[in-house]
């Protein structure tokens, strides 16, 4: 039986203290795991950009890592690393690392040949070109990857908690289910959806702040008449 939305809302309000208490660890796990994943993706993608041979060696392994079923791997990771923050960070990183890595590597490759050639003609070395052109060229890709994987991150964290945790939305859902409280399960689901939406919105906001030229490009209509004549 599906509980009525009104009941879910009422119960969510009644249990708001417990919900909030269990949401905070999920947020912590999501953000910590995601931050680790972004840092790792950045470092490794830069490395791979400088060493294409490493890329060919690494990508099959990374792709294989994406086929690991979370259902099977989550309990194992919890078994190995306990109920603390570490297994959650690992699982969130596992599901978000690959999309971030692919986004960054593709972003570097998208660098305009002309810009790279011009920089080389100016005397810029490989590292300089990476910093001045390849990295900024990857920003739109990076943020596209960020928006996608932030949604995976929440799911990853909840999965990890489901497999075993002291506190968190995942374990809350599990115990609500075991107590035959589908209304509370749904309340937790609603909270996790809201969390995902909020993080997605945050990613969009950060992108706006980090790439102010994007809006300029969209708003501006090149006016090829008056300005044109020098």
């Amino acid at each position: 039986m599906l509980p009525a939305p009104s009941r879910v809302l009422a119960q969510a309000w009644e249990n708001r203290a417990a919900l909030a208490d269990n949401t905070l660890p999920t947020i912590r796990a999501t953000l910590a795991g995601f931050a680790c994943s972004v840092v790792a993706a950045f470092v490794l993608s830069a490395l791979v950009d400088f060493l294409p041979r490493l890329r060919r060696a690494l990508f099959p392994i990374l792709i294989a890592s994406q086929t690991l079923p979370l259902v099977a791997i989550a309990p194992l990771v919890v078994l190995w690393f306990g109920f603390g923050l570490l297994p959650k960070i690992l699982l969130v990183a596992l599901v978000t690392f690959f999309p971030m890595m692919v986004a960054l590597v593709e972003g570097y490759v998208s660098t305009s040949k002309e810009i790279a050639q011009m920089l080389a003609a100016m005397g810029a070395g490989r590292w300089r070109i990476f910093w001045l052109a390849r990295l900024p060229s990857a920003l739109p890709y990076f943020f596209a990857g960020l928006r996608i994987s932030i949604t995976y991150a929440v799911v990853g964290a909840i999965f990890a908690e489901y497999a075993g945790a002291a506190k968190g939305l995942g374990i809350y859902m599990l115990s609500a289910k075991n107590n035959f409280r589908p209304d509370l399960v749904l309340a937790a689901v609603a909270v996790s959806s809201a969390l995902t939406l909020a993080l997605f919105g945050l990613a969009v906001l950060v992108q706006r702040l980090a790439m102010p030229w994007e809006r300029a490009g969209r708003d501006a209509k090149p006016e090829p008449t008056e300005e044109e004549r020098p």
Partner: protein, 254 residues
């Protein structure tokens, strides 16, 4: 005084022969154009000069072989290659920054030139906010502030509409008259070449070789009088005859 000298420069991409023995010179303070059909290998020639690719043959600058010691060229690529993520002033200052000038100092050095380049008031704009002609002027500004020995300009106005292009050509003519850059311009616009150049090398279609060298002994500025315009038109006509005329069936429409 000869600055740039190419002798029998060749380039193949695999089995595709692109340049088949190009020889040319550019003197100090001279404006030289390379006029040739699309796909001839003009951009390839500039890539050889900037060292982006390697070819065969001899390339000398001030008598010394061109290698990666000493950078002689300020290069303007075929598309403007402005970085969308840098404000116009930081795009203009890019070459100086790469040379090791601090960003603040680089900005201070390019800012006074904005008026001359018709970009005053757009220092803090993003490239996306500029019109096509302004983008090209910004790219040219970025090129000339590097103060290299020679400018390499790859079809700087090729992507502009006809009216803007003409305005830009006249503007560049004026700019050149006051700065006297040593310049190598690539173009497939005959009128542009005649308006701007001291000498023009005509290239064949791929594999490119020099079919003719045309001197343009007209006084400057060349847009002043009707008499000059007629003389220029006569040179244009003879160039078109050379490129398209008498049995050159391998030559596509420029």
């Amino acid at each position: 005084m000869t600055r740039l000298e190419l002798r029998d420069v060749r380039k193949n991409f695999g089995t595709l022969e692109v340049l088949s023995g190009i020889s040319m010179t550019v003197d100090d303070g001279e404006f030289v154009s390379i006029l040739g059909p699309s796909g001839a290998g003009k951009s390839t020639l500039l890539q050889l000069l900037t060292g982006a690719i390697a070819g065969e043959g001899e390339m000398r600058f001030d008598g010394a072989p061109l290698d990666d010691h000493g950078r002689h060229f300020a290069f303007m690529p075929q598309r403007d290659a402005l970085m969308p993520w840098r404000r116009v002033i930081d795009n203009a200052a890019l070459g100086l920054e790469v040379q090791g000038v601090r960003r603040r100092a680089a900005r201070e050095r390019v800012a006074p030139l904005f008026a001359e380049f018709g970009l005053a008031g757009f220092e803090r704009a993003w490239p996306a906010e500029l019109s096509g002609g302004m983008r090209q002027r910004a790219a040219l500004l970025r090129t000339v502030v590097q103060r290299r020995d020679m400018l390499l300009l790859d079809e700087p106005f090729g992507a502009l509409d006809a009216l803007t292009r003409t305005a830009m050509q006249r503007w560049l003519e004026k700019m050149w008259a006051s700065h006297r850059w040593t310049a190598l311009l690539i173009t497939h616009d005959v009128r542009e070449a005649v308006l701007l150049s001291d000498r023009i090398y005509l290239l064949s279609a791929r594999p490119a070789r020099v079919v003719a060298e045309v001197a343009v002994p007209l006084p400057r500025p060349r847009t002043e009088s009707a008499a000059l315009a007629r003389e220029a038109a006569a040179i244009e006509a003879s160039i078109l005859d050379t490129l398209l005329g008498a049995g050159r069936t391998e030559f596509p429409i420029v």
